[in-house]
Symmetry: C2
């Protein structure tokens, strides 16, 4: 089994860096690099619009992009429960290979651990990633200023509801497709074109509300958002009502929140909308000086309310 899996990995993920077969891949860099890590424990492993392999590639690729870096190399570490179906594993590795190619990243390093039955739930995947910073770009929450505009690249919460709706215990009666995607082709041209981008973040765990709260806390500024401007699909709205879950707190895996200087916002949205993954890009709000470190939602009926940080994790194993 072990050697079968090794063969599988090397065959499907072959590239010149991984091919070195050493303890560490060697990469030649001349500039600053971004470095990130994420473990994926999603349950179930397959959901409408994706699977754990796609998620593990896209999640880490997007984390590098959020830093203003061109994703280049990923590591792939698998923890597999003994007895896990080999054909299913093959499908997952195919998915990793496919999405790595699509995202233009090489799997540079790998690891595989098999644990006894019952010691892990089927398969967990860790991907770490490194990427080269786009020259002259330095995205950071520290760059955010009052009057900056807040953009979202598409409708929210589809990933989280897709995973929930594919769990056997739930039956929504309709399918929601995850937005899970790697955003290289959408965001790299944008990063290069606009030096007015201050900050980017993908609203994954905890959703848009958590991402904006983190930005508010770290910058000490207020994120003022407009409920009626936030794109939410009809299916997500319906699922949210049925399940009693606020979509503001539900993960996307193929969207980005972008904070940008006011003069560049319109042009950036126009550019985003030209790409299939950015067709739903919207201006959803702006940054203000007060209330300090808070997210404020202007509701559809015209009132305002504080959107708090998520206290507990309501949706376990969404990614």
């Amino acid at each position: 089994m072990h050697s079968l899996i090794k063969e599988l990995l090397f065959k499907k993920l072959a590239n010149p860096v991984l091919g070195q077969l050493s303890d560490a891949a060697v990469i030649r860099y001349k500039e600053g690099v971004a470095f990130t890590t994420d473990s994926f424990v999603v349950n179930p492993l397959d959901f409408p619009g994706g699977d754990i392999g796609k998620l593990a590639v896209c999640g880490t690729v997007n984390d590098l992009l959020m830093q203003g870096a061109r994703p280049e190399y990923l590591s792939l570490a698998l923890i597999i429960e003994e007895g896990f179906d080999y054909r299913h594993l093959e499908k997952i590795i195919d998915s990793v290979a496919f999405w790595a190619k699509r995202a233009n990243v090489l799997i540079a390093a790998g690891d595989l651990k098999v644990v006894e039955a019952g010691a892990a739930d089927k398969i967990f995947i860790n991907t770490s990633g490194i990427g080269r910073l786009v020259r002259g770009r330095n995205l950071s929450v520290k760059n955010i200023r009052a009057k900056d505009k807040i953009i979202i690249t598409g409708s929210i919460a589809e990933h989280g509801f897709a995973v929930l709706s594919s769990r056997r215990s739930l039956n929504l009666g309709f399918e929601i497709k995850s937005d899970c995607s790697s955003l290289n082709n959408l965001l790299l041209p944008l990063i290069k074109s606009f030096n007015q981008i201050k900050f980017m973040r993908d609203p994954t765990r905890g959703g848009l509300a958590t991402t904006l709260n983190e930005a508010a806390e770290s910058s000490g500024l207020a994120m003022m958002i407009d409920e009626s401007a936030i794109p939410v699909s009809g299916k997500v709205r319906a699922a949210a009502e049925l399940l009693g879950i606020d979509p503001l707190y539900v993960a996307s895996e193929g969207r980005a929140v972008i904070v940008i200087a006011p003069e560049a916002a319109k042009k950036a949205i126009a550019m985003l909308r030209k790409h299939p993954l950015g067709r739903g890009a919207c201006l959803i709000g702006e940054v203000a000086k007060s209330p300090k470190a808070r997210v404020v939602l202007k509701t559809a009926v015209g009132t305002e309310r504080i959107v708090d940080m998520l206290i507990a994790e309501p949706l376990p194993r969404i990614c």
Copy 2:
């Protein structure tokens, strides 16, 4: 729980790179970097001479060193079973922080996933690492030539037997201490001093026999080793006999196999022996042209036998 753990991580692992609190850490590099990943699923979490936290740091640090790189940044990704004892977690994070400091690496990126009780066995840790190549060094199995000497930096198999002996199901009647250590201070000066080093590898999973078989296979050369020269402690010898396990196949986590040009071997061993972690350094054999891609052991009684690649994994969850 979740926020408690986050606080714990940030408090214990604080450093300027992690402090950026972004999706990806940003690192300024000007030269080639080495990149590696490893997941740790060791059972039990504590064993004589170490614990999963120490192992997760030292294992990845050593993988970078084996490539001739100075370890600089690690990522740390935890998968924790719901209900795992918080004090135990704190102890593990203390160990990560302590050994990271000792190995002179920064924890630059992190991730935390909590899965429901029963979905993982207590805690799994992934560390990925990046390091800067020592200038002018390019270690690779491709550099190995016939007549090169094979060195081991100390006695073998102590880590594997330490973990085994600390499992409740086994009672050896004596304790074996793991050799688990980060080898920066032993190996960086050596790498800088000797441009005759061809190849290095830490004999972890599958032990010395597997490491040498991989080198033999990749180089197409023969690794001729001398049984009487291989350092094995008395306790390891006793445990090996009791359990019927060949120490050649058992993991070390603080040793390195070094292949070096013949003229430099003696001086390298003398330098290794000056350091506490290299006191047991020995010349254990040399490279030959044939039998191609094989490891040959000259036994204590003067006969020769082929040391095969490990077929099955005899010791699960050793690291």
